[in-house]
């Protein structure tokens, strides 16, 4: 049962990587990143049970936290970057 779950999660992680590489917009990539992080949390907790070492759950906790923080960080920074680009574009247009 646990092995089947591991394989399923690995497949889903692979799909997320494909989307992250292909993904046309930035937000697709962030979405895939978020999904990948969640799946990693699940994978690590399942692996902990498979190997019989439940202290892996600590790592899973850290992953959940770090994942959230980095997604929020990417969003905040991407906002400012977009604004900056539009500012530059608008100044260029107005100069023309």
């Amino acid at each position: 049962m646990l092995t089947a779950a591991t394989i399923a999660i690995l497949v889903v992680m692979f799909l997320a990587i494909i989307r992250c590489i292909v993904g046309p917009t930035l937000y697709d990539r962030i979405l895939a990143f978020n999904m990948f992080g969640t799946k990693t949390v699940l994978l690590i907790s399942i692996l902990g049970f498979l190997m019989g070492r439940p202290e892996f759950l600590d790592i899973a906790l850290v992953y959940a936290l770090i994942n959230f923080i980095s997604v929020i960080g990417v969003l905040r920074f991407s906002d400012s970057v977009e604004f900056k680009h539009q500012d530059q574009a608008s100044t260029k247009e107005s100069k023309q």
Partner: protein
């Protein structure tokens, strides 16, 4: 495969995302290989903090990669030759997990067999890191501290009060926008800090330790700074205090060594810190991990604050330059929008 994608992609934000995924993936490999502490560090540093710092750097420099000016053929050749030689070298290495490997013959048996009696810490990695190889770890902490000093001297701004008149409207907008995220983060941050402390002091028994705890602690504070604005965060965490903490952490580490030196044994030999050698080891490891945690957390916060502060100063300068241009352009664009809207409405009506 991901590495190739990282090199090929031009959009630097996408590169950061791929780097994060690479970090998560390699941490999964470490978990599979049963190297819990390394996976912990990779999770906290590789996937979290380094991505954030790269982002902060990107927002200062711009988003797309500079076009190449020369053909990278020679570099490619060098890389191929080096890689080939490395692969040729691995042919000579013992098989993975083989018992006769020199790594497993030299000092590892002593660590594994004797560390329980000599150090008395259940997590062997911690005892190796903080007791047998304490001098190396001191060097690492010094490197991190030096990095913090470098960033501080390169990027720090003179202390001055900026005019907040321009920022107020934007801040109000931001408050409106990030309502849900702010409330959730506000409830989460205390737990993150608590978890960092747990990692710090649980390092003797399970995976964890000073480095990881410092990074998690810093991540929580960076989250706060991102959501509530840098000025608020700077008001809560005084910058001089943080610099002081960074220095105190390194000093604590070094002074533990000096104390043992004065007691007549080798540098960083903790056996003399208490009557019982094992208790002395415990005390020494605890103090050292505390120093490492303090330094790492403080240095991470310093780096992040300086990057973001520099960026905000840049943005302010840009805004003041382009305010007039923007104003005229905004007028134009609103006119354009209204005409477009009218056009589309007319089209719709015609369609009907």
């Amino acid at each position: 495969m991901i590495a190739i994608a990282i090199v090929r992609t031009k959009d630097l934000l996408a590169v950061v995302m791929l780097t994060g995924i690479y970090g998560l993936l390699s941490a999964s490999f470490f978990v599979v290989l049963d190297a819990v502490d390394v996976a912990f560090t990779e999770a906290a540093v590789g996937a979290g903090i380094s991505g954030l710092l790269m982002l902060a750097a990107i927002t200062m420099t711009g988003r797309t990669e500079a076009p190449k000016r020369h053909k990278p053929l020679l570099a490619l050749l060098v890389v191929f030759v080096t890689g080939g030689m490395l692969i040729y070298g691995t042919l000579d290495m013992p098989y993975f997990g083989s018992f006769e490997a020199p790594v497993h013959q030299h000092v590892a048996p002593r660590y594994i067999n004797d560390s329980m009696q000599e150090v008395g810490v259940p997590n062997i990695v911690t005892s190796v890191l903080a007791s047998y190889r304490a001098f190396d770890t001191l060097g690492e902490v010094a490197v991190i501290f030096t990095a913090g000093i470098g960033v501080l001297s390169l990027l720090s701004l003179p202390q001055r009060r900026r005019s907040y008149r321009l920022d107020e409207s934007k801040k109000e907008l931001m408050h409106e926008q990030h309502m849900v995220v702010r409330i959730v983060s506000k409830t989460l941050i205390p737990f993150i800090l608590l978890f960092a402390l747990y990692v710090q002091f649980h390092g003797d028994f399970g995976p964890g330790g000073g480095f990881q705890a410092g990074v998690i602690f810093a991540a929580a504070i960076i989250l706060y700074a991102m959501l509530f604005g840098l000025d608020t965060a700077k008001r809560v965490f005084n910058q001089t205090l943080i610099q002081l903490i960074a220095a105190i952490g390194l000093l604590l580490y070094a002074s533990v060594g000096v104390v043992s030196l004065f007691s007549g044994v080798n540098y960083l030999d903790y056996n003399v810190l208490a009557d019982d050698p094992v208790a002395g080891q415990h005390l020494g490891i605890l103090l050292i991990e505390l120093g490492v945690g303090c330094t790492v957390a403080a240095v991470m916060i310093i780096i992040f604050f300086n990057f973001v502060g520099r960026r905000e100063a840049q943005q302010d300068a840009n805004e003041q330059n382009s305010t007039e241009l923007n104003n005229s352009h905004e007028l134009k664009s609103t006119e354009l929008k209204s005409t477009e809207l009218n056009n589309t409405k007319q089209n719709n009506r015609e369609g009907e």
